[in-house]
Symmetry: C2
Amino acid sequence: MTSPVGLHRVVEPAGVLPQAAWRVDNRPEIGANEVRIRVERLNLDAASYRQLREKHGGDGDAVRAEVLGIVEERGKMHNPVTGSGGMLIGVVEEVGPGSPLRLAVGDHVATLVSLTLTPLRITDGLKGWDGGSEQVPAEGHAILFARSIVAKLPEDLPAGLALAVLDVCGAPALTSRVVTDRKAAPGHAAGDTVAVLGGAGKSGSLALAAARRAGARRTVGIVPTDDEADRLRTAGLADEVAVADARDPVALAEAVTRALGKPADITVVCVDVPGCEHGAILATDEGGTVIFFSMATSFAAAALGAEGLAADVTMLVGNGYVPGHAEFALDLLRAEPAVRSLFEQRLRAD
Amino acid sequence: MTSPVGLHRVVEPAGVLPQAAWRVDNRPEIGANEVRIRVERLNLDAASYRQLREKHGGDGDAVRAEVLGIVEERGKMHNPVTGSGGMLIGVVEEVGPGSPLRLAVGDHVATLVSLTLTPLRITDGLKGWDGGSEQVPAEGHAILFARSIVAKLPEDLPAGLALAVLDVCGAPALTSRVVTDRKAAPGHAAGDTVAVLGGAGKSGSLALAAARRAGARRTVGIVPTDDEADRLRTAGLADEVAVADARDPVALAEAVTRALGKPADITVVCVDVPGCEHGAILATDEGGTVIFFSMATSFAAAALGAEGLAADVTMLVGNGYVPGHAEFALDLLRAEPAVRSLFEQRLRAD
């Protein structure tokens, strides 16, 4: 039986896991516990897409060529600059007899493990994509391992919408868990205040909805522009909405403190630009928690930033996996028309 | 009054905190809430020193020239590759009338905020240093802000020993807190199992001692060589000692599982080489916690690695600041002759 975590697909360097590999083997033949997917669409990670777009000054053809080059060279869509990938949707094409994923040929699925560890081959030159959006129509195949995570696409939601939700489904699940756990601690029954940086975005709006449902006492969504502020206010997902540049530590901390009366008990970073670590720390109260979901987060900036500010805060690496995260996020979307509306606006704008 | 977090010392880019700055102003004149230190010795961060040494193939003169160049260019010892710094000891030379740090001229102190945000000027060309050790005798001055953290050096310990302990004092404090907090949770009264990667090192040995004192049920120290294993066994700080390469996820997980009977409840990463994220995650049980103290940690590798392994683990960015961390670490050293002995061996070997 081939390795449940895909070690047998690692080409170089030897001995690492597929995510750490420079290159993986993307051949279509599957092992006994693998599954092959016929790809329909990639959803690039926001930080990755932004880096590519900025590097090429918005030239879609150049962005497309670079994505093709990365997949050709690495056997996976693993942006070497941001270290991030994204996810994909497709149809199950072949299931090894030893696969534990309970999939059947023909199932319409989304992968919930990152593209950075998913063997992928593209066969259509991405001819259906203009390089101008994170959503990439694509033909080709991808491989799932025994320990991959995959969700069947719900029949009641458009595929693009479901994909966009599933792509960020770790954020609401972990936000909910942190708010719930802290509320259970002695003296915290009233619930915490929560600031979500990038509150009008995909992971941000879901995180705001999750925080409120989990019993947050008061929430603030921080957004970069008046336009986003209007949209988030209309959605009504946050008790307060404020405009601030999350990369400006002092301005951000002031905005959060003004909205909540003091720094946040929990700060959730859902902004896909580098340099938000210090602001998030400064905007968080002593004894509070920062959850970093942005793939643009710098470990050293967070660790040394907290030390340099003498900030006694707990800092969590936003784990993209929490049991039940896919169902949780889809249920939030179904239950909160405002979240759905924000997602649909984002998808139309893409 | 100048900014308590040193914003007025940032030269470029504008608007960021000193740690995020490319260059800070290291002029000796102090603001009303600042303190100037006459530098005696720098202690380079292990990841930073290792990167410099490897880059220059062990050529001490080249390492020294690069450290001087970095400080000259940036106004602080902030390694641009690793993003890390270190700390320093010296004597208080001037105290602004508004400084809240309760220091007096002549106090012998260690800075507990990173060198990455400490304005520093070196005036002796580091002539007393051969580039062959993390401990760098140096003349010059450094600046502390109002919100800096600083410890008076204890009179009962040699300065070099105290500095080495204070440099890593966040690790035992946070390890102790995590073990204690989890033990207080329902069903956890027996205490957790704890694996410390790099258990014979400075932060590692203190973390092992802290975990045991906080009530860990069983501990294992993972080390890279038989030689380190012998030293750690002799020290008796861990219930088990095992040799494994922390960059090899499968080998590491097997070593931890063999030693503890199952993956660790808490894994503490104290290894100063890149590429240990996946092994740490794979070595940790479902529902467990990974604490990353190494400055060589990659945020994306940790976040995507956990997702890719479908690992429901809590991942903490090792905050270098926990209230009382300096006293806690010094007390551990005083109370545990085995820890002191390991530190003294390390210092002799440097």
